[in-house]
Amino acid sequence: MSPAFNHYKLAGIILPSIAATAIVAFFLLPFPTPKQTLIILSTIVSACAAAAFLLSRPQPVYLIDYACLRPLRTCRVPFATFMEHARLCDFFDEKSVQFQMRILERSGLGEETCLPPPNHYLPPLRSLEGGRAEAELVVFSAVDELFAKTGMEGKDVDAVVVNCSLFAPTPSMADMVVNKYKMRGDVRAYNLSGMGCSAGIIALDLARQLLQVHSKSNALIISTEILSPNYYAGKTRPMLLPNCLFRMGASASLLSNHPASRRLSKYRLLHVIRTHRGSDDRSFHCVNQQEDSFGQVGISLSKDLMAVAADSLRSNITAIGPLVLPATEQLRFLLALIARRALSSSWPPYIPDFRKAFDHFCIHAGGRAVIDELQRSLRLKPGDVEASRMTLHRFGNTSSSSLWYELAYVEAKRRMRKGDRVWMIGFGSGFKCNSAVWRCVRTVDGPPNGPWDDCVDRYPVEVPEVVTFS
């Protein structure tokens, strides 16, 4: 693990003190003998080498703050509204309506999730301009709130990374943000698309790469999913699932590597681990955008999704384990691995106890089944996945921004303390499993200031297995 202190400060202390000592010595002390010169030189050069070594370490990256979209009450879609809407759309037959109802009953979603305004029309409006309007609504709300919290302005931003999987107009959403906030001409804008629900961590990784190269910079990361142009108006069941589960959401976060930002920031980014299982056909096809037999475009989720998610998680924890687990857990994992390889493959794999490495877990709220599967795979307690379940209940599956809603839940519940470690896990089409590890550098106190302001006291709620409604 990297040292807790800022190694820039250390280098900044070493070099001037060497210079000061050298100057003092030169003027005050008698001219040294060759042996003394050698001793002095070796001390100085070793100190310089140590300083150079410290300076070449990766720059620490801090999260100054983040903001999540607070959806409007007018966009709320309780179950009754959703079902009535589905019945009134003539492109759904009775079987599709019943299927959607069954999915909704078992989904783990609550009555306060939101859909964007075009989806409330009959039939839902699907247009480029509608998508742009939705993008402006969700992205600008989140960014405005972030700028208000941090006191930043557009011209202070050095890099913008936007990820939105299913909507990528030209000019991109990153360009739209540059335009709205009048950012500088040398801003580095990147727009990631098509990368699924784990793209938020990919955007985080990209921003981190940029901050390793450019010192005293910051990066604005925006994660969202635009729903209205992608509404599925057909009857194929695997393609109806996204209509039922995906909801409106967006997040904006500000990363910085400026030494002065350490005092202001909440978290430090420790690791980002990415795993891509695209070379396996079953993984690649399990979340697939396709046309049904009537030419309607939608996202199809295959029945293999849970198994694929479990496989990709296993690959990811194999990569992340050595970086975060205490030595005892790593040893046990290694011994079990050797036993499986050398003795017999029926030897049960040892699942490390990640609760010894992390205090909080933010698991992508992809659906109830995903959270159940991860709870089982990682041997977590119900309290560990509470943030994910409650986010799914309150906001639905907001795709890549769900991790930030979950983090906001932990903070709103006043559970985040200085020194706590957080594990964010995202899954997405491709199939990818990406993780980010954060450490809290400042206990988050004060009144809640996030999307859970008005409702955190009602949580946690007991989410029944099946919600029945007529």
Binding site: S165, P171, G194, S279
Partner: protein
């Protein structure tokens, strides 16, 4: 004391070595080398000559005489030749109803042959398998399915699980250099990495079927193309096999200006038809972005003598209130300009004071391949290489423009004499041709005939009755 002296000597030597190692290591790995690149040449049945364009235009039933006139004028004076390529569904007559599978198969037809050929080429000089690729960046601006096109490529070629993959979309015609910038940034914090860059554009879902003029221009200019490039920061690999070395890269974003931001964008017209809108403010936005970029780039690449001369000349000319131009040829031997259109190439040529020889690669690429969006600069580079103009030590300036509005430029240095014909192999001998004038210039002169409107109406009535006609020109 002796012991202390000995100990100090050892510490001193060790510290010196550590310092030197750190410095040399950083210096060696900070460079970005272009190992090789290939450009896409689709098969001959995908060619879009002018008469085929005329047919496609005439299939659009909502065009009137004025629109025909406008379109034909644009097609004839666009600078595009008879061998540019289009997507299959448009040539087969299905441009009005593109499906998702059309778009995906179009991208498969571009990306997979590119990856196949780049691996084939590099395996002739050194061994490189898909599992050696550490970074994959795919940029296709106007089509972004889920799973991403990058994931499609990973699925087909079996790249490693820990690959760093980025799928950029919506970034316009300058996305290629944005991808190079991304790769270069990753290289600076990792050692010995190999990156694969795939750059292309999707045309079939973006064909405009309406009658708004600003949106019809895209149909006349954008053509199929793509490129794959292998980059590395491994000093051994790059030093031995590299073609070009990246020296500078400057990005400029003019998004803060509303006119610049909306001058090139995807839109729906009043009837809800999708298309790419190019507004009248485009040349002004391009010029502004260009000068902003040049202001940052020029001091980095020009020799001191030229900078001094320019400063003196500006001070002098201020008194006479005229603009002085900087002589880019003092710092750059070759110019790789984005083939956005004839006007773009001529505009840059005027601003930089470039002669015909310097603009020839861009003009010829526009003629042979059309505007292939982000990958166009690689075709221009390939032309220069095919003409055996790239000699060791020479510098190449790549300049691209894109929606947003962005202007990105970079400077490459040639590492060895290059002579690979690449995608120009079968036609380089015919370039430059005697004339770039469209061969149908005379044939379509009828559009100015006073009876043209009657002819057009007769043609439309004939089509409605089901009479088979090849094209409008049959009526003459």
């Amino acid at each position: 004391m002796e012991f202390l002296a000995l100990f100090s000597t050892i510490i001193f030597l060790h510290a010196v070595l550590v310092l030197l190692y750190n410095l040399i290591d950083k210096w060696r790995h900070r460079n970005c080398y272009l190992l090789d690149y290939v450009c896409l040449k689709p098969s001959d049945e995908r060619k879009l000559p002018t008469n085929l364009c005329g047919e496609i235009v005439s299939r659009n039933s909502c065009l009137g005489l004025n629109e025909y006139k406008f379109l034909l004028k644009v097609i004839i004076s666009s600078g595009l030749g008879e061998s540019t390529y289009g997507p299959r569904n448009i040539i087969e007559g299905r441009e009005a109803s593109p499906t998702l599978s059309d778009s995906i198969s179009e991208m498969d037809e571009y990306l997979f042959p590119l990856v196949d050929s780049i691996f084939l080429r590099v395996n002739q000089s050194f061994h490189l398998s898909p599992s050696s690729i550490d970074i994959l960046v795919v940029n296709v601006s106007m089509f972004s399915p889920a799973p991403s096109l990058a994931a499609r490529v990973i699925n087909r070629y079996g790249f490693r699980e820990d690959i760093l993959v980025y799928n950029l979309s919506g970034m316009g015609c300058s996305a290629s250099l944005i991808s190079v910038d991304l790769i270069r940034n990753i290289f600076k914090s990792h050692k010995k990495k190999i990156a694969l860059l795939l750059s292309s554009e999707s045309i079939s879902p973006n064909w405009y079927n309406g009658n708004k003029r600003s949106m019809m221009l895209g149909n006349c200019l954008f053509r199929s193309g793509g490129c794959a490039a292998l980059l590395t920061n491994d000093p051994f690999l790059g030093g031995r096999h590299g073609k070009l070395q990246l020296r500078r890269l400057v990005r400029t974003h003019l998004g803060r200006s509303n006119e610049a931001h909306t001058c090139a964008c995807q839109k729906e017209d009043d009837e809800g038809r999708h298309g790419f809108h190019l507004s009248r403010e485009l040349p002004a936005a391009a010029a502004q972005a260009f000068f902003e970029n040049l202001r940052v780039l020029a001091p980095k690449i020009l020799p001191l003598t030229e900078i001094a001369r320019y400063l003196l000349a500006s001070v002098w000319k201020k008194k006479t209130t005229s603009m002085s131009t900087v002589n880019m040829k003092s710092g750059v031997e070759h110019f790789c300009l984005h083939t956005g259109g004839k006007a773009v190439i001529e505009g840059i040529g005027r601003s930089l004071g470039l002669d015909e020889k310097a603009l020839e690669p861009a003009r010829m690429t526009l003629h042979r391949f059309g505007n292939t969006s982000a990958s166009s600069v690689w075709y221009v580079l390939s032309y220069m290489e095919a003409k055996k103009r790239l000699r060791k030590g020479q510098r190449i300036l790549m300049m691209t423009f894109g929606s947003g509005f962005k202007c990105n430029s970079c400077l490459w240095v040639v590492m060895r004499d290059l002579d690979d014909c690449g995608v120009w192999e079968d036609c380089i001998k015919g370039y430059p041709p005697k004339t770039l004038v469209n061969p149908f210039f005379d044939k379509y002169g009828w559009i100015n005939d006073p009876n043209a409107e009657v002819l057009v109406q007769k043609f439309k009535d004939g089509m409605a009755r089901g009479e088979k006609r090849e094209s409008l020109t049959d009526l003459i």
